[in-house]
């Protein structure tokens, strides 16, 4: 059984890319292959000029992986102890490590939390401390698997803001998976959608919307009510309540359909919309299929 098959893409340095897919679609497997935790059975993976599965120390110094609820911080000790270990392991001089910890803790709004045992921190504080530990060595490539999972809305926003700042400041490349569409829309101009182990979409987020739901949404407010049959030839009727009408229309026919509507009915108001992307993706995640 293949978890992923024929997935092929390249990401330029400094890009922030969202990686979407339902549970079990192959996102985490792909991330683990990219960071060297899983050896691909076929094909080739190249990250920062290295084959990840070799886990060469130079490669490991240039990447980081943050996995939602999985932690590297020592549970019973303050994050600062784990940070000292990380600084030694990555060979970061004490002075540089102190400066980076100060900078990153400012950005993440972490203060005395760094000196309190990890087990006494809230989930949001823990996640931020995990991010600090994962970024202390200033990696060039960040693999983030659900970095905001379980956080409240404010903490999600802070983590998002931090990631955007980090990317701007260091020019790091980021590949991010998240079930929260707000993470993707706020951070990633480019998204990849994986489905049943294969890449379904790779491009701009708004183009994904037209692939997932190829119809346009037309909302009408008429001067006079009209029967349902009057709209049969125009598109898929979603809603008809007195003078309020919602239609789904094939984009290729949109101009002619609008012309027909304006010719046949007295229209008080008219709107043409794309379906909301988060609604489409949410539906996709709920159903687990395209």
């Amino acid at each position: 059984m293949s978890a992923v098959k024929g997935v092929s893409f390249s990401i330029a340095p400094g890009e922030m890319v969202g990686f979407l897919g339902a549970n079990g679609a192959g996102k985490t497997t792909t991330l683990k292959m990219l960071c060297g935790l899983i050896h691909p059975s076929a094909g080739e993976v190249l990250v920062a000029g290295h084959r990840p599965q070799r886990r060469h120390p130079d490669f490991l110094r240039r990447i980081t992986l943050v996995m939602g609820q999985k932690q590297q911080l020592i549970w019973d000790l303050p994050p600062m102890d784990s940070l000292r270990v990380n600084a030694a392991v990555y060979g970061i001089p004490d002075r540089v490590a102190r400066r980076r910890i100060n900078e990153l803790s400012d950005l993440l709004e972490l203060g005395e939390e760094l000196t309190r045992p990890v087990r006494k921190l809230s989930l949001g504080q823990r996640m931020k401390a995990e991010l600090l530990a994962a970024l202390l060595h200033e990696p060039e490539v960040l693999f983030l698997d659900e970095p905001t999972l379980g956080l409240d809305v404010n903490a999600q926003m802070r983590v998002r803001q931090f990631l955007a700042d980090y990317n701007r400041r260091t020019g790091a490349t980021v590949l991010l998976t998240s079930h929260y569409m707000a993470d993707i829309t706020a951070l990633c101009p480019r998204v990849m959608l994986i489905h049943q182990g294969q890449l379904f979409h790779d491009g701009a987020l708004d183009r994904l919307a037209s692939r997932l739901a190829p119809e346009r949404h037309v909302r009408l407010e008429l001067e006079q009510p009209a029967p349902a049959e009057a709209f049969a030839a125009l598109g898929q009727l979603d809603r008809l309540e007195n003078c309020e009408v919602n239609l789904r229309v094939d984009p290729a026919l949109l101009t002619s359909v609008l012309a027909q509507i304006l010719a046949r009915f007295e229209v008080r108001d008219l709107e043409v919309n794309d379906p909301p992307i988060d609604q489409l993706i949410g539906e996709l995640f709920r159903q687990g299929s395209l």
Partner: protein
Amino acid sequence: MRIFGLNWRIIRALLSSQYAHMLEYRAEIALWALSGVLPFIMLSLWSGSAARAELGLDGVALDRYFLSAFLVRQFSVVWVVYAFEEDALLGRLSPYLLQPLHPLWRYVAAHLGEQLTRLPFAALIAALFFLIQPQAFWVPSLGGLLLAWMATWMAFAIAFLLQSLIASLCFWSEKATALERLLFLPFLFFSGLLAPLTAFPPAVRAWVQWTPFPYLIDFPARVLSGDPVNLAGGFAAQLGWVLLLLPLVLLLWRAGVRRYSAMGA
């Protein structure tokens, strides 16, 4: 400069963090130290038995042997397979695998931190033993103490490598700890924890010498208690087992990492 991936700064950071971590569990570690009194139970059994004459150790020598066996055991207890299995199952191993340091060093540091935490409790139990058995009191020479410390450390290294070999099987089986229990029985009988090896018939003794078990307790305990022992032969056997097990662990580890699928992640 790094030797085996380590430098002084990494060693210091790992040891200080792991010692601080183990101090959080000091009450539990005190209980572990207490639960290691099996050699004292065996001492009381052998002391009251007519068969003690066959051990080749007189009264005081037997007391000292079992106290030494207790101390050696305290500082060579290994639990890496349990810690490793938990880390692998909960996905904590993944971040360790992605750092430029072999994950086994973290477990070595954790064991050393635990031994340091255990030290005062083990010393207290030894002091209590001398209060009860004052005739057994002795102070080893500095040279003897150094040799005993080396032999105990080598015993720890062998035990650690043996368990790491089993722990590496976690990459294939999620329940490698069950295999460790298979090793525990021969360890119990042939290490010298229940009885000095001299208690066994010569044929069994000759066969057991070819296993790693006598070098885990019997040999270092005899060095510490000052019994006449073949030092060169004992240390050579310990070194031989370390040199045999180390490449096996590294090979199995490398093969295991290749098929690791980051369970629990």
